[in-house]
Subunit: 169 residues, 2 copies
């Protein structure tokens, strides 16, 4: 799939077929995430791949908008590792760029995915940290829920001219 | 260009040919940025397109790592608009996803670009806010410097197995 088509046809996918995602595909998504730009090329990320059904079902207890994980074959927790930062303060941007790469790669491979937010909500951070035994220096940013989409994803354009300014406000 | 190829061959490009970038292409990059996912689909972003040579030259006075802007035909300041947030606290993630879309779209179109950080450095935020008359609710996140690349960009893989954890740490 062509990159601009992928960008414009990627949607948040919350309903999945009852079908597993091969490990090799997950590795491709993670590889796409890990080639994202990062401040000082620090690559301050860690990823938790979750395919344990009980863990996926439990997510809704501490992250209400991630309940679709119960019916997904797999999800990935994208985390920032503060001990890997070169320029402190940029990990959220770095890990968000990695997340966007992951979403686009998933879509390019025919998968569907949705970015559910964790950071900066304290209760969600605690929920994921406790349930996945995260070290103190590893902060969960987002849970990306992944599966084979039930519906087709259509091209969208949300260009807004009033958000564009020339050489100043 | 295929989306996974685009993801893996995109590099930070800091040297550009002496050649302008058509406005229509800039619009395509902005359109790619604006279709990024955002918390509650709030789309809390604003973009300043900068092609004024004096302004591009001035950037290095308050953002030392963005000196390449002096020799670039155009740059885009990606900003978060706090007044547009639906779930406060997510604008950095939203605007970072938009930035990554913009970088991939640029690469897909044969352009080269580099993400230079502004937020959360106070002095850089002040520099850009003052020089581009940004309203108080509009926070500059990054300056994306763009041009036609002098060098070819090669495929890279930075997959690190030790950053991947299964069902918990």
């Amino acid at each position: 799939m062509e990159v601009l088509e992928a960008i414009h046809t990627r949607r948040s996918v919350r309903k999945y077929e009852d079908k597993t995602v091969p490990e090799e595909l997950i590795k491709e998504l993670l590889s796409a995430a890990m080639i994202a730009p990062s401040a000082g090329n620090a690559q301050p990320w860690q990823f938790i791949v979750v395919d344990d059904h009980d863990k996926l079902t439990g997510v809704k207890e501490y992250s209400q908008y991630a309940a679709m994980a119960e019916h997904a074959p797999v999800a990935i927790i994208v985390c920032g590792d503060l001990s890997l930062e070169k320029y402190p303060g940029y990990w959220v941007q770095d890990c968000s760029a990695a997340t966007q790469n992951l979403l686009l790669a998933a879509h390019g491979k025919g998968l569907g995915a949705v970015w559910t937010g964790i950071y900066p909500m304290e209760d969600r951070i605690k929920g994921f940290s406790d349930n996945f035994n995260l070290p103190k220096n590893v902060i969960p940013l987002s849970l990306i829920v992944i599966g084979w989409p039930v519906h087709e994803q259509k091209y969208k354009d949300r260009y807004k001219e009033d958000r564009v300014h020339k050489n100043g406000w």
